[in-house]
Amino acid sequence: MASAPQDFRFGNFVGSIVWLVFWILIIVTLIGLPLIFITLFYVPLPPVNGEVLTPYLFFSMMVDPSRTLPIIKFLIHTDIFRVAVFPGFSYAALIAAATIFIERKFLAKMQLRIGPLYAGKIEGILQLIADGLKLISKEIIIPSGADKPIFWATPIAFVATAAAVVALIPVAPGWVVANVNVGLIATFAFLGFFPLFALLFSWASNSKYPFIGGLRALHQMIAFEIPFILSALPVVILSGSLNLSDIGSAQHPFWFIFFLPISAFVFFISSLAELERIPFDLPEAESEIVAGWLTETSGMIYGLLQLGTYVKLYALAALFVILFLGGWTGPQIFPMELTPGYTGVKIYNAVTVNAAFWFTIKTLGVIMLMLLPRGINPRIRIDILLHTGWYKLIVLSFINIFIALGLVYGGILGPGGLLPG
């Protein structure tokens, strides 16, 4: 500390509070209120109780809580809610943020130490907010000779593609952002973009260590895409459809992991390799190639890439849950009616809440399982990695395809088989 701390003067304190109140008033009146009015004028709102919903009616309804329930119910079922809040981006980002924090604390406990401790009163809960603020406030340094358009565009494209994979995942029956009939293949198509982003970014960085890291990322991700797709094939064979919601609901007496354990194992290992997690984090191998293809990132670009990586972690864990662990099926533990005898507008739907609850629990369980190898294994070398990806995992996934075909043609599963569903 080079200088002594300043003394506290009450006049300065009051002055700063007055200044703050002044600015809040200016911003709310000049910008906030006009925005609210513009939204309410131009966004189409439903007629409620036979009257058109004007802004003045809207504000008068806010006074009486029982009259706002239809609006909330309407808003929950719009598309924007699904994209932004529930099975969409906010949910994924919240789970991603919780994953980062849990990962640090979980690894710390395994390593006999305390993780983040000082941010927030209870054992460092606000650490992520502190990290986010720190990353926003740092300067973004672009190396000279770097290809600026690609350098800026790639992290944004990375997060966008990860969010696109999240958009395909059904959380509860009927709650999916994009219900496409070829959902599984669309997921693989999106995942095929990630090696491209790694290569583009490393080439655009114009530096040696990212170059090596980008090539390693390319080799690794392409080598593991094939076992990834092959291990999802038996699931399609057993359930008969490519739509992720149908796969989820086709597992109701027995989950597919009981019939396809080898496939689940291969899928798990391939998803660890797609996510560049330890033991497969060669593209970011710290002690050999500084930080791999992320070397030249700084500030918010690094923040965006980390956010994209953890959203992708959630997406792949959710995919594992849907394909092998039964999606949202689980015993109904929520009561069908919260307050028996209520005859007004209902927002609570017990089936949906139950489905979302079980899905979240299972996804968090799979995420914890994906965090475990980080504390146990060292990094693998590139030739051993390629050997494993191209030889061993493809052979293992073929074994399970034959088992699945045998089960279907032997009449045990599938339509007309011994087991229902």
């Binding site: 006999l112 002690s287 980080r374 294994n377 060292p378 030739d383 051993i384």
Partner: protein, 386 residues
């Protein structure tokens, strides 16, 4: 041409080929420099052809502080605080060798209890250094748990050393004539309890790191140094013991009371990176046995230090003594001209000699093997630069 001239000719041709290929952009030059998470205070340049290293040039000298020259301006006792700084976390070994050399020059003898305490401090420091080395080896290979566990267990020994010497890392404990203070109360029980707990921890290290198939795949067969090459290059310490030569200064030229202690020299025959990382692990186990024997056999009472005049000086002469430190044979060669300040102090460290094996092993290996070869050579940059 004679054999030697033929070898020179071949080396020149290879060097010119490398220069030509670099200019054609076929080889890429990477500077694994001081600003690199995988190198420490040391720089080496490698030229890479795809994934294979074809040329390596170590570049030490970033931490040179002139320890040897500084020693000529201070008297024999004032030299201790700065001479322990080259390897500060193994400080009891680097001052042990100095004290032995000065005692020979000034012609004094250390009492027996002092010798036992010196050996105890030296063994404790050996554990501290080896655990730190193991921690960094883990993180170089990407195993963050293997970084945290040894660093945590090192606390057990640092705690003991702090009770014994008064400071956690900068001990300044050995001086010519003996050690500076006696063992405090309750030390022996504490020491035995913590050593017993540490031996249980070593079993955990074996489970999660040494028997981990991923670690074995990365280090077995990598950077093999045969027995003849090891002797020819002059490497020392755990590197030469991993290549099949059972050389340990404590057994070959026992100093102080090491001829009364019963222990086996740990060595392995394969000479690859895996052997070089297992030998310090066996050394740590052996060190626990040695510490137990030292605590048992120590004479219960006695002096720990010979009284010296404030500015000790001896007749003109020279002396050379060496000691087994965590990295190998560490020797001091001191020339005195009859005054209280030494005329010349030459420190011969194990790290500098192990550095010779680095280009020899790196050329021809893959880039992914670089961290495991480099750090398994037990190289501490600050000590090599003095």
């Amino acid at each position: 041409m004679t054999d030697f001239e033929q070898k020179v000719d071949e080396t020149m041709k290879m060097g010119l080929q490398i220069v030509k290929e670099t200019e054609e952009d076929r080889l890429m030059t990477l500077s694994v420099g001081p600003q690199h998470p995988g190198s420490g205070h040391f720089r080496f340049t490698v030229k890479v052809d795809g994934d294979y290293i074809v040329y390596c040039d170590p570049d030490p000298g970033y931490v040179h502080r002139g320890e040897e020259k500084m020693s000529e301006y201070r008297n024999f006792i004032q030299n201790i605080p700065h001479l322990e700084r080259p390897v500060i976390h193994d400080s009891n070994n680097i001052t042990y060798s100095y004290s032995l050399a000065v005692e020979e020059l000034v012609n004094i003898e250390v009492p027996r209890r002092g010798q036992y305490i010196r050996a105890l401090a030296s063994e404790l420091n050996r554990q501290v250094y080896t655990l730190y080395w193991l921690a960094i080896y883990g993180i170089f290979l990407g195993h963050s748990t293997m970084f945290m566990w040894p660093t945590g267990d090192r606390e057990l020994f640092i705690d003991l050393l702090e009770a014994l010497t008064g400071a956690r890392v900068t001990h300044a404990f050995n001086i010519p004539g003996g050690v500076r203070n006696d063992i405090p109360e309750g030390f022996k029980d504490r020491c035995l309890r913590q050593i017993a707990y540490f031996e249980k921890r070593l079993v955990e290290y074996e489970d999660i790191f040494y028997n981990n198939p991923l670690f074995r795949q990365r280090t077995e067969g990598v950077g093999t140094l045969s027995k003849e090459d090891a002797i020819r290059l002059g490497v020392t310490g755990s590197v030469v013991r991993a290549s099949g030569v059972p050389f340990d200064v404590r057994k070959v030229e026992p100093y102080d009371i090491y001829n009364e202690i019963d222990f086996k020299v740990q060595y392995m025959k394969s000479g690859d990176s895996f052997a070089r990382s297992m030998v310090p692990f066996f050394d740590m186990r052996e060190s626990c046995h040695i510490m137990r024997q030292l605590l048992d056999k120590m004479p219960p009472t006695g002096e720990v230090r010979t009284k010296l005049q404030p500015n000790p000086k001896g007749p003109a002469g020279e002396s050379y003594k060496r000691v087994e430190s965590g990295r190998g044979a560490l020797g001091y060669y001191i020339i005195s001209d009859g005054s209280p300040k030494p005329y010349r102090v030459k420190i011969s460290v194990g790290s500098f000699r192990n550095m010779l094996a680095l280009p020899f092993l790196l050329i021809g290996s893959k880039l992914g093997d670089m961290p495991s070869i480099y750090w398994s050579l037990n190289y501490w940059p600050v000590e090599a630069d003095r």
